[in-house]
Symmetry: C2
Subunit: 457 residues, 2 copies
């Protein structure tokens, strides 16, 4: 079921598309593509096949490409070799959902007025489908651009096979521009375009001082305490009150946030109060809005995720633990290099606690796209036309492996033209998407494709 596009006013097209959009979104949401659960492997194939059919029914070419893990769906509205190409990345796998916590079944999408309730509705099946509606209108109405689709099915598990997929299909995926539609605005009142990601360096530090827990009455005072020593090490690495990292050289490659960037951070609608409410936090390290936004988007961190070892039951059991493990990570910002930071960390730990064993976990580079220049201007124009407001340029505090892989293999940076809102319950129960963002998003992508097609190559 598609909607007539040719010669139709964009507003009319979008209005006429509503029923069809809702029907197709339900088709996708109702397939439980939970990538974290191997039991859903067949649903992955089913959803990939359905997505490819959908692309074809809209007039695009489409194919399902196998990887060592879940497949990737690629498609294209191809105009000509002589016009520019843009690729939009989305993903159609979803987070797990515990049905008992939801007010309606997570994999049986319900339309509730303007709201679409179901797992994956906003992350990221809804935005993927929104792009497709916009792309069809642009293509059918002659916008001189080739539009490629890349729908991954392993995003929620860290894209373990995506980089190899890109390498294996590099020619097919050749593009001039990349946009990613998988991010969240800060506030419904203000469109947001993302251009930066933090990197990540995970490490485990282990200390073993014996072979079994020993009674502290027998050995306390003479025996070493590995949890105590790791606590000391952590406190030498950073001041948990302020968040300041004390590892020598850690901040050497960190760039200050420019005045313009800072203005945009605030323009996004970010406030410490809203942040606190959204994440249900009691008190933060600062109450200042600009400093708050800068801390999550543009400053590196040192974080303790857990300390294992010793006694963890109720009350106190007076043992001296024989081993302990600190689970740590550092979020990194442009232009910090995970390799270099790991070396700084390792040198510091070797000096402070030579017996500790350091285990390196995953590392991801930070990412910095362009917030100025013609491509960014095209995105600004599109957001403004569709949503009636100047968008704010923001960064993401997390790390998205797929974006780094696309930059590495395809040689293009990405802008993040997300459509989700804080109230959509990203990764939470009762996830939803809404017609306001879907309809606005369709128009935004039409404008974006037009604006891109007009750029000088």
């Amino acid at each position: 079921m598609t909607v007539e596009t040719k010669g139709k006013e964009l507003n009319q097209y979008v209005q006429d598309s509503r029923k069809s959009f809702e029907q197709h979104l339900k088709e996708l949401v109702d397939i439980p593509t939970v990538s974290a659960d191997p039991a859903h492997r067949q649903d992955m194939d089913k959803c990939a096949a359905r997505a490819a059919e959908l692309l074809k029914s809209f007039g695009a070419s489409a194919e399902v490409i196998q990887t060592k893990g879940n497949p990737v769906v690629v498609g294209e509205f191809h105009r000509s070799k002589d016009v520019p190409t843009v690729m939009i990345y989305n993903h159609i796998d979803v987070q797990p959902a515990d049905a008992s916590e939801w007010k309606s079944p997570p994999f049986d999408m319900k339309v509730d007025g303007d709201k679409y309730l179901g797992r994956g509705s906003t992350d990221d099946k809804g935005p993927a489908l929104t792009v497709l509606y916009g792309a069809k209108y642009a293509f059918d109405n002659g916008v001189p651009i080739n539009i490629k689709f890349c729908w991954e099915l392993e995003e929620e598990i860290g894209s373990p096979n995506f980089e190899q997929f890109l390498k294996d299909n590099k020619e097919k995926l050749h593009t001039d521009y990349i946009a990613v539609s998988d991010t969240v605005w800060i506030s419904r009142d203000r469109p947001a375009i993302g251009y930066g990601l933090r990197g990540l360096l995970g490490v485990i530090v282990k200390l073993k001082t014996g072979t079994k827990d020993v009674h502290s009455g027998l050995v306390g005072g003479l025996a070493r305490n590995p949890i105590g020593e790791l606590a000391k090490l952590i406190s030498r690495c950073y001041d948990a009150t302020t968040g300041e990292v004390k590892i020598p050289g850690f901040y050497d490659d960190v760039n200050a946030v420019s005045e313009n960037e800072g203005k945009d951070f605030l323009a996004s609608g970010f406030t410490v109060d809203a942040f606190k409410k959204a994440h249900e936090l009691i008190k933060l390290r600062t109450e200042d809005n600009l400093e708050g936004a800068t801390r999550i988007w543009a400053k590196p961190t040192f974080e303790v995720h857990g300390i294992t070892g010793g006694y963890s039951g109720p009350g106190v059991k007076t043992i001296v633990p024989f081993q302990a493990e600190a689970k740590l990570s550092m979020r990194l910002v442009p232009s910090q290099d995970p390799e270099k930071v790991f070396k700084l960390f390792e040198d510091f730990v070797k000096k402070e606690l030579p017996e500790a064993e350091i285990i390196r976990e995953g590392a991801l580079f930070p990412y910095m796209g362009e917030r100025t220049g013609p491509e960014a201007e095209a995105a600004v124009k599109a957001m403004k036309e569709a949503f009636g407001k100047e968008p704010a340029f923001v960064r993401e505090g997390g790390s998205i492996g797929a974006i780094l892989s696309m930059q590495k293999v395809l040689g293009k940076s990405s802008l993040f033209l997300g459509l989700s809102l804080p109230e959509h319950g990203y990764h939470a129960i009762n996830e939803n998407y809404d017609w306001q963002q879907a309809s606005g998003g369709m128009k935004m992508f039409v404008s974006y494709f037009k604006a891109l097609s007009e750029l000088k190559r």
Copy 2:
């Protein structure tokens, strides 16, 4: 089955007692009096009844006294109101035992040459029975002293009902002297008499900064990290490398170890090397023997038993935890007061981390008996006569609630005339006792009762 005592040489009596001792010890060990496991409640009653019968068959009076928990067995060889009274404390409940880890069934005592293998053989059924054999000989041979027995069945679970039992039976338990036979020598080559215990103050510090774990990409840098803040607090409380406690005033009431005490600590045979092997520790805070002994017996500690909160599975999960809990305790030495130390700790935490919640767990006073004076001399004489070597005066690093209760309710301090050896596997698998310690112990208690009876009251 008892052995003729009257007019018999002590050595001959002890020699003749061996078969009988082994048979009675097996009767007691084969009843699995695991106080930590409520499923063994009936075994407690069974063992108490059997112990009372045993006391009676030896010619002592005996009764089983009920408490809110497990019963206590009391008995007496009563001579006259005109002679002094000594009470010996033992316990006949035992630690749990996992049969699959033992080389022979823990509750089916095996005699292997001089060794008696079974749970409770050395802790503390063997020593209890040893005292009984010595007491019978002393009594039957006219030593002018009343000898009382007090065999608890809740020692391994912290003596929760013992103080009330003492209060309820204060008249019956009236005594001039108390000895406790439930401690471990440092080395088989050197008898040890204990005279001091460390106290204990358990505390839990909780910090809550949100209502759920949050993704560190979204909030890291702005959100507080309760594990990091507790690690910092712990590092402010003590230097885990040296063990030095940094809470202001903490050491104010700590007395230095005298030169004589220090000499005795070393004379006990304590070495850092043996300690390391016994507890399977890799490296200690010092390699010096005197400092090592002082650290476990005569210095207070700050200990971290565990930190809960956050992620504890394999690898690293990049969440910012919303709450954390540090399980802590301080071992205290004479004349530190748990109340006063708690106040110092509380004041310090309130200043360093005002949002933290402090939960007080158990507290036990430190204990200091007399290592000089007539009673101590009687013990020295007895140990020397029986084992051929001058005993060393040592302290215990742990806390024994029963001893504090006896001092409080009965008004008498205790000396610890233990008979167990490090190689007996106290609280460990393949626990054992041996005829050398049993036979020496019988002689030692005979000498001890004689020496006590000769003291001026």
